[in-house]
Amino acid sequence: MKISYNWLKEYVEINISPEKLAEVLTMHSFEVENIIYQGEGLDGVVVGEILEVKKHSDADKLSIAKVDVGEKEPRQIIFGQMAKIEVGLKVPVALAPTILPGDKKIEKSKLRGELSEGMLCLDQELGLLKEGVSITFFDKDVKNGTLIKKALNLDDVIFEIDILPNRAHDCLNHLGVAREIAVLLESRIKNQESRINLKKLKSDELLKVKIENEELCRRYSATIVRNIEVKESPRWLKNRLESCGVKSINNIVDITNYVMLAYGQPMHAFDADKINSKFQIPNSKQITNSKSKTTKIIIRKAKKGESILALDDETYKLNENDLVIADDKNPIAIAGVMGGKKTAVNENTKNIIFESANFECANIRKTSKRLKLSSESSYRFEREIDPEITMLVMMKAIEMAGDLAGGKVEKNIIDIYPNPVKKKEIEFNFEKIKNLLGVEVAEKKVVRILESLDFEAAIKNEIIKVKVPTFRIDVERANDIIEEIGRIYGYKNIPEIAPEVEMKSVLSDKMLSLEKDLRIISEGLGFCEIYNYSFVSEKDVNSLGLKIEDHLELQNPLSEEHKFLRTSILPYLLKNVEKNLKYKDGFALFEMGRVYLKNNNKLPNEKRIFAGVVADKNIKDSLFYELKGQLDVLFSRLGINELTYKEIKSAESFWHEGRSAEIIYQNKTIGKIGEIHPNVSSAFNIETRVSYFEIYEEELLKFYSKEKHYQKINKFPSVELDLSVVFDESVKWDDIKKAIFGVNNKLIKNIQPFDIYRGKSLGENKKSIAFRIFYQAEDRTLKDEEVLIIQDNVIGELGKMGGEIRK
């Protein structure tokens, strides 16, 4: 909220600089986010009187003025057509050379042969108005040459303060902030009592108020002010409102806004003559004999089908949960949110009804949210305010209406307040203060702090009893009170003391250890880690051939791109590939993240996926085996060896079926690896082949063990024999391996393929695989004859599979 330094000074003595004040508030109360010095950059702008205006002889759109700026000689200034300038007007003049807000330099210069010694300034050029085009005219009695800062009273300092929800009850206004300052500067709030004092009545012959829903309208104070003159507000009032970011409308509306910014109580003014009553408000002479002619105001829930044209010129459809202010027939305001257009105060208004009420917060919030209609008033009511303050604010408004609009209150203030709030009482062990803050605060100091905050405090037998002022709605429990003590005492005065704790070793979560290992190994293998969004678009889903109905949908996506939660890491990885291929020929990427799978309307199954891609423009062939080799290293580092690979049997259509496999370990699918179907990658504008893997971490975790066991080193030499065998293309290496081990799995220790050859000499659909068999015994040196016998048997077995030894 924007808080004016000058305004604060009306309520409390401040003897420190604005910067110092901002720091004190920030450290003890709430954060001052920004300090704005009004009039900054306006030191070269004065009030000037137009003495003479003529056309520029050499430019249609320019004129030349002689302006009295309080100097010996008038200045010659060239101006355009943005504002109507006439002789006798007094306007803001920038005297060259000077620098205006926004670093705009004004120099003496010649424009088409004519000298210009300054500039006539529009409001937005002076930083007075954010948008629109306007110019300020000064009264005749303002002396030429007066700094406009002075003439407009732009000598204020504005604090932008972040009032958080817990202090929104009492501090979204100047008095509340002043109260904090008084505590922090050990000063006092100046007397706020009104000079008028009217009788409070439940009703009188002029005005009757009926609250139908007491739980939603906790208090309603209203009064009729007659014979007012609606006009423009004086400059000081405009300044006050504008420096807090509120637009000036007319004196009556401005009064309601002023008291709200001053005391935090939203008010409303109705045009009393437009309220649908049995009669019009009479002139004062008629009052005595008009008992039957009473204005009636009803606070009730809206009826089904009711609607209202509000001050913002929009019509709102109301429902039975919305609270309204109504006359005999129709709603005249959405309670606490916005008034109705029909009863709005305008220049023809003669009599008004001031409303100062208290509405229940949650209901206001519901209505405001549903109607998507928020106002300074609803913002405050939503945050709950003290019902005790309606009368003080009403008196202030009446006082101002008298001063600024000549209005008069003939009778009383009607005040319906069915259940007055009581001060909360909280008591707790004094020791608790030390137990929570970790520092001993003396009893005297505690009481002094609390009393300065308007709490009543008494300590007896180690028990502290506290009475909370009604405006401190946020204070409910002992800890709230201790917070008050702590922040005023100063958090900087609390020492740093290490906690006393049991010495315990910290065991790491197994899944998080696995993820850390996967990351570190991948990094070692040359993969670069990526973080992508959790969201995907419908287009992504379709491009991958996934089903849109399997995806959780957002109610309020930021864009079409981010409308669904991902069920696969792949789409964004493909986008990463496409993007990076513009800069690099080849790379390997991985991401570790969650996918979100529907789970029968319960919270979704968040599956942890470790996925990666490799792509390389310079490699025309598949990168499948490179990727598989990298995964082999990765798995073996995790203690997982001897994986098997099986054709993918799933509905996912983004795989290149001839070049993809499920990764199986101990009969469980722990992941998939393969090439992405070129149709899919080209949908992502990738021309290169892309190989991809995804590992299901929850599955992998079951086998993850970092235990290692030493195996004795075999000291007997091994015999290595090479074979080159021609097979049909359809024969799989896994089956060849199995057949060979089947011959003698004791002495055959290992089989390593080292070459595959395909060529015309072999015939169609044939491949020649060269491999080396390692023979080794654990108890002796093998004899050549022994090995050759086994090798013959191997050749025989392979023959059964159609394998022919290549000579």
Partner: protein, 341 residues
């Protein structure tokens, strides 16, 4: 006979000196010392000579044999030495020429900062756990004392799912889930992905990372003073220098009192610079003493326990540590950025 022997010696030494390789030398060894060499024949013929001659010739032949043998050895070591002579210039390489290109991997900067933070807290006895990313209203709001229709909810702009669940707006729901399963004393940190319904710009993202912390023990054992100490230790370890912290009052519904923690700017040591916007302080985390309402919502008895909770943005810490000026870079997947880490 003597002449013959001298001849052999002369010839042998001459040929030896001309030998260029070890193989040449081996040939000479066979030629002059082998079984069929002249010298061997001479020695073999000694038995036919007179006793006086036998002694004289024998000594002479043996001496020459030794001379040839040592000559071969010398020549051998000479040749061996010659093999590596001048190797420095013959085999000189340009060491400024680049090494082989080895594929280099990179961990994401957020991963690196996260692991660094986890290590610091682990050394302080905090266990790392993770929560969910999709949450229900109860765990994300209600249990944390953020009731429906309360303006405090406006602090968190929320992504809602069509099924009524939501994307967690902070890592705090794990406080609830963890305390439902574990009794104090407890010390955890919870890194996690969180989501805010916010248009992205240089300092805002719709998904980003937070680290939550929670330490709870019996009432009286954990105080604001303890919290200050824990945070000061963490910040010193994180920025690897003697930074200071300060607490400012703030508000989060699940703590009471609530704080904002600033750390003295590690770049200028509090003097004021571009990073800290000339204030000397950097706002780094939100925290407070756990609200008793949170304890009662997980079934703990009111006032039995006290504790502190804190939360901070991992992205923000990474931005400060690495001088990154746009949070969107972390999620750009751009290798030109990521390969810098």
């Amino acid at each position: 006979m003597k002449n013959r022997i001298n001849k052999i010696k002369e010839l042998a030494l001459k040929e030896m000196s001309e030998a260029k390789s070890l193989a040449d030398l081996e040939k000479l060894r066979v030629k002059y010392l082998g079984r069929r060499s002249d010298l061997t024949n001479v020695l073999r013929g000694l038995k036919d000579l007179s006793k006086g001659e036998r002694k004289e010739i024998g000594e002479m032949a043996n001496k020459i044999k030794e001379e040839i043998e040592s000559g071969i050895r010398n020549q051998e070591s000479g040749i061996k030495k010659l093999k590596f002579s001048n190797i420095e210039s013959r085999e000189k390489i340009d060491t400024t020429y680049p090494g082989e290109k080895i594929k280099k991997g990179h961990l994401h900067p957020l991963t690196q900062v996260r692991y660094e933070i986890e290590e610091i807290f682990k050394s302080m006895g905090f266990l790392t756990v993770e929560g969910r990313e999709v949450e229900d209203e109860f765990h994300n709001f209600d249990a944390l004392n953020i009731p429906k229709d309360h303006p405090a909810r406006d602090i968190w702009d929320t992504f809602w799912l069509k099924d009524g669940n939501l994307l967690q707006t902070h890592t705090s729901p794990m406080q609830i889930r963890f305390m439902k399963e574990n009794k104090p004393p407890l010390r955890i940190i919870v890194p996690g992905r969180v989501f805010r319904y916010e248009a992205s710009d240089a300092t805002h993202e719709s998904n980003f990372y937070q680290v939550e912390g929670l330490m709870v023990d019996e009432s009286g054992k954990i105080t604001v003073a303890n919290f200050k100490s824990a945070m000061a230790e963490f910040m010193k370890s994180l920025f690897k220098r003697e930074v200071k912290i300060r607490l400012r009052p703030s508000y989060f519904p699940f703590v009471e009192p609530g704080f904002e923690i600033d750390v003295s700017c590690p770049y200028c040591d509090g003097a004021g610079c571009r990073i800290c916007k000339k204030t000397g302080w950097i706002e780094i985390l939100g925290a407070g003493m756990v609200n008793q309402k949170v304890f009662t919502s997980v079934g703990f008895k009111k006032d039995k326990y006290e504790g502190f909770a804190f939360g901070f943005g991992l992205d923000r810490i990474a931005m400060i540590k690495y001088g990154v000026d746009d949070v969107r870079l972390f999620y750009s997947g751009d290798l030109r950025f990521l390969e810098q880490f």
